[in-house]
């Protein structure tokens, strides 16, 4: 890739060394990319500090409180891991269809229906069937529900040509109303008082936790799912074919690839993963369905997927980071008397900076378009 013909020369240094693409150039490019990442995050943090300061809070104490009560506190660290689990699965639900050029903004809804399906299965079985059977049934139900939810958007895309980003987004709200409908009436725990919830899951059906911690086996499942997804995307024909569609759907179609079927399967697979995410959060953390369950986790997963540029390992790391931001939001509320949702500002700023200043430049894309 020669940078010399680039009409917009970024730093003059690059154009001097850019003629033969040497190792030195590659290293420099990588360093520049790294510097951009660091710069982007620093800018986001500084802007956030200024905004916080305008609300009368001392940004330095906000940051130090947030860091000390989030990262140096065993409970909070576990909390981060627990929240990152479903978030990472919701993010993988974005990653897989993204390979085919699809945008799944429905992680939120797919997580919710997964939790709802798991909750429903639990209500049916947990007092009669052995724990392991209930767990498996909940997992299957969650995965199926998530897959159906994403599949609905896939079907609309394939039959009516409606963009999946719009439909998955709308389905999120339908999923939320479905959850609320169920827990306010048919599934409501009549013994509970205050906030409407379902009856708690029977002890035998709760996902086992690592002794002494709140980290449940579902987190292991997340890692397994991530590994499986990585293999699927990078080491199988299916994954390769999927990327072909993302690269050029028309070429893929002409090469005889069943594009619609592949698109649908990728959404089903992704939705299924997110559904499992909902299930592990229900069976491993919450044990009952409540109104605010999993709120914003799916959207954060979407952002995590973009932050990690749709590659599995970076996406896992991004999920951890965004999860830490959410958890630090709670500490903001306690320590600095700022609303917990304030952490969304930092998430948004980081995303703006990272998307805007570390990605491909539009002129590079235009050139690609011109050559293709």
């Amino acid at each position: 890739m020669s940078t010399t013909t680039d009409p917009v020369v970024v730093p003059p240094v690059v154009s001097e060394s850019g003629a033969p693409s040497s190792d030195a150039g590659g290293t420099r490019r990588r360093l520049v990319a790294l510097a951009r990442w660091v710069g982007a995050i620093v800018i986001a943090v500084v802007v956030f500090g200024v905004l916080v300061a305008t609300r009368g809070a001392n940004p330095f104490s906000v940051f130090s409180d947030a860091i000390s009560s989030t990262l140096f506190n065993a409970t909070s660290v576990q909390e981060i891991v627990i929240k990152a689990g479903p978030m990472a699965l919701a993010a993988l639900a974005v990653v897989i269809p993204a390979r085919a050029g699809l945008v799944n903004v429905g992680g939120e809804g797919q997580l919710l229906v997964g939790a709802v399906a798991a909750g429903g299965t639990a209500l049916l079985l947990d007092r009669s069937a052995p724990g392991v059977v209930v767990m498996i049934a909940m997992g299957v139900a969650g995965a199926l529900a998530g897959a159906v939810w994403a599949g609905l958007a896939g079907l609309l895309r394939l039959t009516a040509g409606v963009n999946e980003a719009v439909t998955t987004l709308l389905l999120n709200y339908v999923a939320l109303d479905l959850l609320l409908f169920l827990i306010y009436q048919p599934w409501r725990d009549t013994a509970g008082s205050g906030q409407p919830t379902t009856r708690p899951l029977a002890d035998g059906a709760k996902l086992p936790v690592l002794t002494g911690t709140s980290i449940h086996v579902g987190i292991g499942l997340v890692l397994l799912a991530a590994l499986a997804t990585w293999v699927l995307l990078n080491r199988t024909v299916w994954g390769f074919t999927l990327s072909t569609i993302g690269g050029n759907p028309e070429a893929a179609r002409r090469a005889g690839i069943p594009v619609p079927r592949m698109m649908l399967t990728s959404l089903l697979y992704g939705g299924g993963l997110a559904g499992i995410g909902g299930m592990i959060h229900f069976a491993g953390v919450e044990y009952q369905l409540r109104p605010g369950i999993l709120v914003m986790i799916g959207y954060s997963g979407f952002l995590a997927s973009w932050l990690g540029r749709h590659r599995v390992l970076p996406v896992l790391i991004a999920s951890l980071v965004l999860s830490a931001l959410i958890v630090s939001g709670d500490s903001l509320q306690l320590d600095s008397d700022l609303p917990a949702a304030t952490a969304n500002v930092l998430t948004g700023l980081v995303l703006v900076a990272v998307l805007g200043w570390t990605g491909s430049r539009p002129w590079i894309r235009n050139r690609k378009k011109a050559t293709s």
């Binding site: 609309l156 719009v166 109303d177 409908f181 306010y184 949702a341 995303l351 998307l355």
Partner: protein, 303 residues
């Protein structure tokens, strides 16, 4: 009369969606889809409320809301037009940003209320049976919206500026050949989109709810984006669609006032289900009507 109540509520509740959807029409006509419309509405709602609360003048509030909405939309504009970021990713980022900013700055306004933009009955017209209570006993911002939709149609299809916006969405090359800068036109369109979304949000906080609470838009902005698609990017159809959703939203309070025991959340899902159904039915047709540049975004999204 239940029907009158639902329709009057539809006009009242649909107004905020209409403003946002009209703005989004301009933006999408220029080839930029903005999921951050939800965020622009939120920002507009808070800014409008806060400024009205401080100054006592709702119109200054509406103006400030428009500016705030435009400012946020321009962040989307910079990312999408200037940096080539994926439009959906950028839009959702904007939504997050707005969600955080409005809860950070809106905290102190939760629980306060204002009395501004109350419904005004128009003397003779308001007495017409059936039509009067639906159309002519509304607030001033709603009256303004009756003209905004036709005005937007006129601007888009009968003026030079509108032609430029539509060209930016259909054939960018033509603009370049004629010495225009497509980027500038798109920035303008995105900004106008955000401003109108801000006004929509302000209608919700100043006139509709007359209060502010966190995340008060609850998906209306996303509905507006979907509405623009199935209204085939036509301002007058957008107007009709907005009232349809308004009516869906109005159904729940009206039926509850009648003492009908229908689960509220089943009704809350209605606008979203109706939107999905409408998209399913009109989907194919809309794809043909879509601006060419937008088709690239909607039909095949590159990473």
């Amino acid at each position: 009369m239940i029907l009158v109540d639902i329709l009057a509520g539809g006009v009242r509740g649909g107004t905020s969606i209409m403003y946002a959807a009209l703005g989004e029409t301009v933006s999408e006509r220029a080839g930029v889809i903005n999921l951050g419309t939800e965020g622009c509405m939120l920002t507009g709602a808070l800014t409008g409320f806060a400024v009205t609360f401080q100054t006592g003048n709702p119109w200054i509030g509406v103006l400030a809301a428009a500016l705030a909405g435009a400012a946020l939309a321009l962040v989307h504009g910079v990312l999408v037009v200037g940096r080539g970021v994926n439009q959906f990713a950028s839009g959702l980022t904007i939504f997050f940003l707005a969600l955080g900013l409005t809860s950070l700055y809106g905290d102190s306004f939760v629980g306060t209320s204002i009395h501004a933009l109350d419904p005004i009955q128009i003397p003779l017209l308001g007495d017409i049976p059936f039509v009067g209570p639906i159309l002519f006993r509304q607030d001033a911002l709603t009256y303004l919206s009756y003209v905004t939709a036709p005005l937007m149609w006129w601007l888009l299809f009968r003026t030079r500026a509108g032609l430029l916006v539509r060209t930016a969405g259909e054939r960018v090359d033509v603009l370049t050949v004629h010495g225009y800068r497509p980027e500038t036109i798109r920035y303008a369109a995105v900004g106008i989109g955000g401003a109108l979304a801000g006004v929509g949000g302000a209608h919700l906080s100043i006139a509709y709810a007359q209060s502010w609470f966190e995340n008060m838009i609850v998906g209306r902005g996303f509905i507006a984006v979907a509405l623009v698609v199935f209204a085939c990017w036509q301002p007058l159809r957008v107007m009709a669609g907005a009232y349809l959703f308004g009516a869906c939203l109005a159904l729940s309070p009206v039926l509850q006032a009648q003492g009908l025991g229908i689960n509220q959340f089943a009704l809350d899902a209605l606008p979203f289900v109706v939107t999905l159904l409408a998209l399913a039915v009109f989907g194919r047709r809309t794809l043909l009507a879509a601006p060419e540049e937008l088709k690239r975004v909607l039909d095949r999204t590159s990473a």
